[in-house]
């Protein structure tokens, strides 16, 4: 099991568009990825509704985990989406 800690990069938080992009990136990965707040219950990163219920704000730390072949690359690409400020990209 591989774990990565990362912070929410979007100033609006992991809401709306950033959450949709995050879930889409997780869905594109070859292995299942889960995400949680430190000490929280892990949820399926492909599920935008589950991701929304984390209520992760800008700068909040999240723990992403995956296992199996390709887990490392998968986590890296999802973390990249998480850490990008999609709000700014839009502006």
């Amino acid at each position: 099991m591989l774990e990565i800690h990362a912070k929410v990069g979007s100033t609006v938080g992991l809401h709306a568009r950033p959450a949709a992009l995050f879930a889409a990136a997780a869905a594109a990965a070859p292995v299942p990825i889960s995400v949680c707040k430190p000490g929280g219950e892990p949820v399926d990163a492909r599920s935008i509704l589950s991701v929304l219920t984390l209520d992760a704000r800008f700068g909040d730390e999240l723990i992403l985990s995956a296992e199996g072949p390709g887990a490392e690359e998968a986590l890296a690409s999802v973390v990249n989406v998480l850490e990008t400020n999609h709000d700014q990209a839009e502006a």
């Binding site: 709306a16 869905a27 492909r46 599920s47 935008i48 509704l49 929304l52």
Partner: protein
């Protein structure tokens, strides 16, 4: 698909005449009570999977075309419809024996609860989730997709009523006109349609029964809605609209009827900014200058000197024109910091309007003194009137004070039925009367204008209100003294025609309404206006009075 034309009638709230194909805004689906699973669960799972994909695709498609603010919401919604955890939850419930639509509803309800419990922004997303649920359930039940329709051609949007959420993505380039079965002149639909410049008719009974795709004519002025209209009818209505539009650009200056009879067009002002704007408006003066702004929100009454300065500034910008100043209209609803007001259970029926002069006589005398001094040499024709006068004694008391302080023209506002019923007696002392229709309808129909729980009772077309206007105007004619209307009602062009027909001598309104009122008045003779007034008075309620006069005035423009 040419059938006989079907004529429907609603309230026109945003002018314009268009013809187009109907696209209906479907209401959210209702789950049939006691819905039970039928058929093989795996078939139902498959059907639900397809419904979710269809909703996701449609939302994705819409997000590609939506206005920028809606893009994110629609894209997130599309992602929700594709959510694997949601799908797994729905499928699990179907396999446990639930009917597919119920499974969708229950699975969404769980997420909905979670979002609501987080609150804030996420709680607002609960509505997005409801929308997805409605869409998926509609597909499963074989019902039309709820929400704003999408068509290749611009269409006539037909709805039971429009919710604010429906109008968020409403786009003037795809919607030709809006027709709703419910709603009223102040409904959300009316406000949105006016702001977007889309012709609209509300409260159009029977409209929602019209089939999707039907050809429909919408006349947002008269409120007429016609399915399968004849070419003659379309060109006739377009012609009338053109005549009205031409009159707006053609006429300026003093108000006149088609036969040259005069009716003064004035404006209502109540703030310094209003006055700046009104000074440049094409009007014959101010019909209602509300003076409260000088008195409210301050620890002590303004001095005669200070008031004089403010009035002077205003009078000078209306040099050569008339300015009717209404003296302070205070009361428990508009309390003054420097005058103790009784704490009243019913402020609207308490010590307000001219009644405050009973215990604050100096406040009134100072104000009249300041107005009188400011008027002298200002070039404006300054009149004063007292608010909410109920008896001839009050009218004569006010006139006496004003005359003594050097103001030759002193009148009374007719805002309570007692004043209208005894207008002849009021006019023995008062030099003129001015009808405040908003308060007059509140007191005539005993319906609070602040709550307006039964809005049709406050409809300015209500015949009992019109009857009181008629009585007051007739008294003015007998006494050969002016009677004006200065409520919001005067800004309704067709109601202005009715008032003209009753013998009202001036209309005072928001400056924005001047052009349309002036234009409409210019199209009819005094005897036609009189006929319109008779027709309105012979109806049983506001809606039918509006409709009867609208149809009559339209018929006059047909030739």
């Amino acid at each position: 698909m040419v059938g006989p034309a079907v004529h429907l009638k609603g309230i026109g709230v945003s002018p314009g005449v268009v013809v187009g194909r109907v696209a209906k805004l479907s209401p959210p689906p209702v789950l049939p009570a006691g819905l039970e699973a039928d058929g093989d669960p795996e078939t139902e799972v498959q059907r639900t999977r397809q419904a979710l994909s269809r909703v996701r695709d449609e939302l994705g498609e819409r997000s590609a075309h939506a206005a920028s603010v809606a893009v994110d919401v629609l894209a997130a919604q599309a992602a929700m419809a594709a959510d694997p955890v949601l799908a797994a939850s729905i499928f699990g419930k179907i396999r446990d024996g639930q009917a597919a639509p119920t499974a969708v509803k229950d699975a969404l309800a769980a997420f909905r609860e979670q979002l609501l419990s987080i609150g804030g922004y996420l709680a607002e997303r609960a509505a997005d989730l409801d929308d997805i649920g409605n869409r998926v359930i509609s597909v499963l039940l074989g019902l039309p997709m709820p929400g704003l329709p999408v068509r290749d051609e611009p269409f006539v949007l037909l709805a039971q009523d429009l919710a604010p959420a429906d109008t968020a993505t409403l786009d003037a380039s795809s919607v030709l006109a809006i027709v709703t079965e419910q709603g009223g002149p102040t409904s959300h639909t009316a406000i949105i349609a006016k702001s977007l410049g889309i012709p609209a008719v509300v409260a159009c009974k029977g409209a929602f029964a019209v089939e999707d795709g039907a050809r429909m004519l919408v006349d947002g002025m008269s409120g007429a809605v016609v399915t399968d209209p004849s070419e003659e009818e379309v060109s006739e209505r377009v012609g009338r609209l053109a005549r009205r539009r031409a009159a707006v650009t053609e006429y300026s200056g003093p108000g006149r009827l088609a036969d040259g009879s005069r009716i003064q067009l004035l404006v209502n002002v109540g703030t310094s900014a209003d006055i700046e704007r009104a000074g440049h408006a094409d009007c014959e003066g101010v019909g209602l200058f509300r003076t409260e702004f000088l008195f409210l929100d301050r620890p002590s009454a303004p001095s005669v000197q200070e008031q004089r300065g403010t009035y002077r500034h205003i009078f000078e910008s209306f040099s050569g024109r008339k300015v009717v100043v209404r003296t302070l209209d205070a009361g428990a609803d508009k309390p003054l910091a420097f005058a103790r007001m009784a704490d009243e259970p019913n402020p609207a029926l308490g010590m307000r309007g001219y009644r405050t002069a009973r215990y604050l006589p100096d406040l009134l005398d100072d104000q009249l003194r300041a107005i009188s001094r400011a008027a002298m040499g200002s070039g404006a024709d300054v009149w004063v009137m007292a608010p909410m006068v109920a008896t001839p004694a009050e009218a004569s008391d006010f006139a006496k004070r004003a005359h003594e302080l050097g103001l030759p023209l002193a009148g009374a506002m007719v805002e309570v039925p007692a004043a209208a019923l005894r207008a002849d007696h009021l006019l023995k002392a008062a030099d003129f009367l001015s009808i405040g229709t908003n308060d007059l309808s509140q007191y005539t129909y005993a319906m609070d204008r602040e709550t307006g729980a039964i809005p049709e009772l406050l409809d300015p077309w209500q015949p009992a209100l019109l009857e009181l206007v008629r009585l007051t105007a007739a008294a003015g004619r007998r006494a050969d003294k002016p009677v004006g209307v200065c409520g919001e009602a005067a800004s309704d062009p067709q109601l202005a025609v009715v008032f003209a027909g009753m013998g009202v001598t001036s209309l005072s309104m928001a400056p924005v309404s001047l052009a349309e009122v002036r234009a409409e008045l210019s199209l009819y003779t005094y005897s036609q206006c009189r006929r319109a007034a008779e027709m309105a008075l012979s109806e049983q309620d506001g809606e039918s009075a509006r409709a009867a006069v609208g149809a009559y005035l339209d018929s006059l423009l047909a030739g």
